[in-house]
Symmetry: C2
Subunit: 767 residues, 2 copies
């Protein structure tokens, strides 16, 4: 764990340049707008260790699967988000020597991620080998107003000399993915053109034919005056640039403003890409850097109005929660229902930038509460659009009907290739069903069920129907060979959570069928026809619901994680020699598997999702049993425990759990932030605060809150949008104030008591 | 399945050339002598599909592990037997056109593997594009008398023209392994020298520094007269050769005799390799081709005296069993205790040529009965020599003591990288312990126990001691997370076989300790000291033996393959739609895992190994339950079933099982013989005949036989060596005759009745 970042309420600040931290900072200081993302790579040449990353949302490559031993059913490829054209590049030469932070002395280095206004800045003094000193300042952002625009102001001031500064602003498509399975480059050149102050480059992927066009324009000002300079035009394979020199006297600031439009064939016709890029670029150039930056600040201000959390009395916590909210908003804007949320967002290559169950299980609540319901609806529609692929996936695995959503996907096809995960971690199907319930329950958008929801639910239920098998000797159904949410057990029988979420799906599907039959009879008939749904199917579902086998420990009166759980050596984590932790770095895989240690919430995930079906005592018995065996080696683990702990009144445990992920990336807790940030787990941290400390639940159309102030915070406040209203909830030791910031009245329950808050009204209760 | 080979009692014969069968034939017609092996690649250039393979026993390469997802504990490399210098090469040009069977018309093609005398021959007429016809005849062998010598007679006769024939005999070290993980070449050149009629080449592996030197000499005869020719010397990277032309008139036979010595740094000092090769070569050249071939025939005749099986009334069966015996004798001669038996012998690259539990479980009985006991003893010593590595392997996986032998190995280090196999298929440890019992029981060599056996047994028992865990609630020990012999279940709890063989190991270890204390007290004390064996350890072993948990089905009164077995859908193989078979080509891995279908004997493997501990009824109940669920998709499966079926009187089932592997490669039953022959399963077929139909068992120093004539055979006979005597057992429908071919009397039990057969005597009983 490295803690080198300064505490600040609104910014992430790095002071002093340590190359060992650079790749971590490249992740942490990433910028994005939901349509593109950019790691905090330097604009100028850097010969030290760096993971270059410029990502265009939805542009991926089907990288041929690499395995040791092939298993039937493995996918042909793993879809990878692509490192795309390097559009930020501005090389700098001083009297013929390249500026390279690995090759000069760096003084007064400050890197700032301004989260309030949405930009990255950097300033430092470079002392070149020959003693020349330069002051560098840069500001960079990708616009959340204009999704295809990124812009940079890059200023150089000679501090102790006068001489020639040479700038090479460029677009470079000759890039690679570090995680390429066969060390291939994925891009081909399609078009390039460089002119005075301009350049355009189109590259396309070797497979799938994704095209990305980048167009750039730059201008150079000295002491605020625009210069007319004659540039050398550079064109080479997948590269366009200008090389331009400026005479600068000591103390004169030379600023290069670079504007870039990045457009893709996902949003433009192949023949129109260059034109589209230039058009978008021109509008931005006409607006000018300062106006773009100003509209960026305004737009971020609006985002914060919807989603900010204010924590008083703990700057580290304040910074962390804003960082998490900021990264989530940078990753997914919800405007494009073909996009989703990769585990690392746009901050790295790992996990391929693809979609996991993280989205439904952890991210959805954040977007439900902090954005218009259309945003979370789009997350659901993403899966609806993949339904046919999920049905194909089930067929491929030998099922005659139904849908199995993939473990990892970009376009709906399975990408993962570990049998114990790909084929067996099927509880993901339950999370996708649960998200429909969660969305409808939160938003009240019952129309979704007839429009999209039922089809997904029915096909998932059909999958479960075949995935269980009936055991005559028991007169019960069992589910063999699964991996539950706890990936530290593989290929187990009767994982309680999976059995439970499977039956829950079938129950909910039957409920929804009943709802539609009553409320939308025509659509009901239409859907039954479309699905060719037979009565014997729903009868079977009911039979499975009635006769499902659930492993339990009658002595402790708890649900059992799986059939064989109690045969394990029941030694709690606290009694382990700490040198064994984290287990995933110290134990061989078989030892982990046969151990009692739990990677992330499993039975407890079920008690969290289906919280309204279990009483507090049940939750308490299970929590008390399982948490002490849990090593929380998934970043998605602590949040669920934190929320349950809050509900059970274990405030200290809740806060301990919250702390485990709140600053996961800022403090590089898992020693892997250089690969990218843990974006999806950030949503879990948000949940810890709002669902945990805030006690947020939605029941029967009413928003329930049951908050307390954790740790040494003096107070905290958060925003939630609920059925049209936006509420600001402020919690101190003494009182809770809920302020309705909209005109739409809201029905809420505060500490168990119902209130209606009129438009712009508030309610205040003592704690 | 392809059946293109002719039936013959002593030879494998291919008539007519079909390029689609060529790679299969390259495997089937392989020749070897336990020290080197050579696929039946053509001597002359061949541009069609071919898997080149020249293997030197014990010369391997640590090829960097390739996996999709790394798991803690995986090995760094997979050791691969290397495709080494191509020493058979003789290119042929006719008036400037290369002879290439892919580019000419081939008539009267016959390829013969003469098993009786141990050589490969080939003859055909090639019609070149320009109409020229050539008769080609070749004979090739690797000497089982001179382990480093291979020789070829290659004759060309122009049939319808007179002209120039050009020969290029060569040694080519610029070869690769098809299964290289990263498409690397593994060899570097060390030395080369070509002269008139000679050549020498030394290459070394890029890692581990194995050196292989090949030296060649050739001469050319026309119409039986040696020619003095001036050859063009060819030297290039890793290649030496001669190019030499001969004028031949229509009908004149030109024969090239090529002699090659292949020596390795395993047997010679690095500085002496070239000299050693030349010396070995010279002796062979002086003897001459015909003498070498003649001594080869004599030596094979001796081999057959020890191991032949004669089947009357079924040529296909006769050919098959001789093929199996021939390949086993070609693969392992037992003279070098650093060598072992790869699953494909020297007939292909697959499985890396490494050692599996196949050796102990399937091959040992063959060598016990058909060779001097020193041969099987060497197989045991191989593992003794790897004991330290096996202890390191256990440590790597988190055990504080004991030994876990690797799943796959070349030098004692684990090479495999699938967690469910590498870390969990630990029953292999039991097979290695069992082999010690099997060897001592068969040979009566009790001295082995004190010399080598106990150390291995004790360290394996120590492993089991830690691998089980005690469950207080049950007051029993369990073993979690294993893969049994049935690899169609992974990561199961309490695999009956593994639990049983673990306890058996501990029982046997305690027995051996007791034996040594009684019979070799000094050595006993020495060994207890060397092992630092504590009383608490043996006490613990006894406690585990007493309190081991074994899953059972009390209703059916059978042992359960594993805890969850009866929750599976119990549909027998015969009730499966045959289009699903083989499952491993049609079902996704998870579907196989949760199915009831068994790849190979599992509970039944235990009842086979520990046959004297279970009564016939118990065997019958378990056989009747498990066999119908068994798909026998391992070539090691049918033999065990066949032997048990014989014991149970299920003669038809026994014969059906025998047929499944007896001609596995000759008929390319599994459509994979092109990768190499299933060498280790050939030993299983031998067991089916001798232990199955012959009913061979050894109890208390007595050889038991209980034979019957299976199928439509009229009679069969087999040889067994037993404690110094060699017995020929001849079985007809009417009688059994056992002939003692040695001077040493033998105590045998025939159909339950004891006899002593005096030296050179016989015993005859009616059936």
């Amino acid at each position: 764990m490295k803690q080198y970042l300064k505490l600040d309420e609104w910014s992430i600040i790095e002071e002093g340049f340590d190359p060992h931290n650079h790749e971590i900072s490249e992740s942490v200081f990433s910028i994005g707008n939901g349509f593109m993302g950019q790691r905090a790579n330097f604009e100028e040449q850097y010969s030290g260790s760096s993971l270059q990353g410029s990502y265009m949302a939805g542009v991926y490559y089907p990288d041929k699967t690499r395995v040791g031993w092939w298993k039937n059913g493995y996918p042909e490829y793993f879809a990878k988000v692509l490192n795309s054209t390097n559009w930020i590049g501005i090389d700098v030469d001083v009297n013929g020597t390249s500026l390279d932070l690995a090759k000069c002395t760096v003084k007064d280095f400050v890197r700032v991620l301004n989260m309030k206004e949405g930009y990255l800045s950097r300033s430092f003094t470079a002392v070149m080998e020959d003693g020349k000193e330069l002051k560098i300042e840069s500001v960079r952002f990708v616009s959340i107003v204009r999704h295809e625009i990124g812009s940079i102001r890059y200023s150089v001031t000679p501090l102790n000399f006068s001489g020639e500064l040479t700038f090479t602003p460029y677009l470079d498509g000759d890039v690679k993915n570090k995680d390429s399975n066969y060390d291939e480059k994925f891009w081909l050149e399609v078009f390039k053109e460089a002119g005075q102050g301009t350049g355009a480059l189109t590259i396309k992927t070797k497979k799938l034919d994704f095209h990305v066009t980048s167009a750039m324009f730059y201008e150079i000002l000295k002491n605020g005056e625009k210069l007319n300079l004659d540039a050398e035009i550079i064109e080479r394979e997948k590269f366009v640039g200008n090389r331009v020199s400026v005479q600068a006297n000591e103390g004169e600031e030379v600023s290069l403003y670079k504007y870039v439009a990045n457009v893709t064939s996902r949003n433009h016709g192949l023949g129109q890409l260059v034109e589209a890029a230039r058009e978008v670029l021109n509008t931005a150039v006409q607006a000018g850097f300062n106006a773009l930056l100003s509209e960026q600040a305004t737009a971020w201000c609006d985002k914060w109005k919807e989603s900010d959390i204010v924590i008083e009395g703990d700057v580290a916590a304040q910074q962390a929660i804003r960082f998490n909210i900021f990264q989530l908003n940078q990753t997914y804007s919800g405007e494009d229902d073909r996009l989703n949320i990769g585990p690392k967002g746009f901050t790295g290559e790992k996990y391929g930038g693809s979609t996991y169950w993280d989205t439904e299980a952890y991210c959805l609540p954040f977007y439900l509460s902090t954005a218009d319901s259309s945003i979370s609806r789009n997350l659901l529609i993403y899966r609806y659009k993949h339904l046919e692929k999920a049905k194909e996936n089930a067929k491929k695995l030998g099922f005659t009907k139904g849908a199995l959503y993939p473990m990892v996907t970009m376009n709906g096809e399975e990408c993962h290739n570990e049998w114990e995960i790909t084929f067996e971690e099927i509880h993901r199907n339950g999370a996708i069903a649960y998200a429909i319930y969660n969305y409808v329950n939160y938003t009240g958008d019952f129309a979704y069920l007839g429009q999209y929801g039922l089809e997904v639910l029915a096909e998932i239920s059909r999958f479960w129907e075949q995935r269980v098998n009936y055991v005559p000797a028991k007169d019960q159904y069992v589910m063999l060979g699964v991996t539950g949410p706890n990936e530290y057990e593989n290929n187990v029988n009767n994982n309680w959570y999976t059995n439970r979420i499977a039956c829950w799906t079938m129950e909910y599907t039957l409920d929804v069928l009943n709802y539609l039959e009553q409320n939308e009879p025509e659509r009901y008939t239409e859907l039954v026809g479309k699905l060719n749904l037979q009565e014997e199917e729903t009868t079977k579902w009911q039979d499975i619901i009635n006769k499902m086998y659930y492993p339990v420990d009658t002595e402790r009166d708890i649900f059992l994680q799986q059939d064989g759980f109690l045969d394990k050596e029941l030694v709690q984590v606290k009694d382990l020699d700490p040198k064994h932790l984290p287990l995933n770095q110290n134990w061989s895989w078989d030892r982990i598997l046969r151990s009692v240690y739990i990677k992330q919430a499993d039975v407890l995930q079920g008690l969290f999702f289906l919280g309204d079906r279990y009483d507090l005592d049940t939750k308490k018995r299970n929590f008390d049993f399982y948490e002490p065996f849990t090593v929380h080696e998934s970043s998605l683990s602590p949040c669920v425990h934190s929320i349950l702990a809050c509900e059970l009144g274990y405030q200290e445990k809740a806060y301990e759990m919250y702390l485990r992920t709140s600053r996961l990336d800022l403090d590089n807790y898992n020693n892997d932030t250089e690969d990218g940030c843990h974006t999806t787990s950030m949503a879990g941290t948000w949940m810890s605060v709002v669902h945990g400390f805030g006690g947020l639940r939605v029941k029967d159309g009413v928003l329930h809150l049951n908050p307390f102030v954790p740790g040494h915070w003096t107070s905290f406040s958060f925003k939630v949008m609920f059925r049209g209203s936006r509420l600001k909830v402020n919690v101190t030791d003494k009182e809770i104030i809920v302020l309705n910031e909209t005109d739409i009245p809201a029905a809420i329950s505060l500490n168990g008591k119902e209130h209606t808050i009129s438009g712009m009204g508030d309610v205040k209760v003592a704690r």
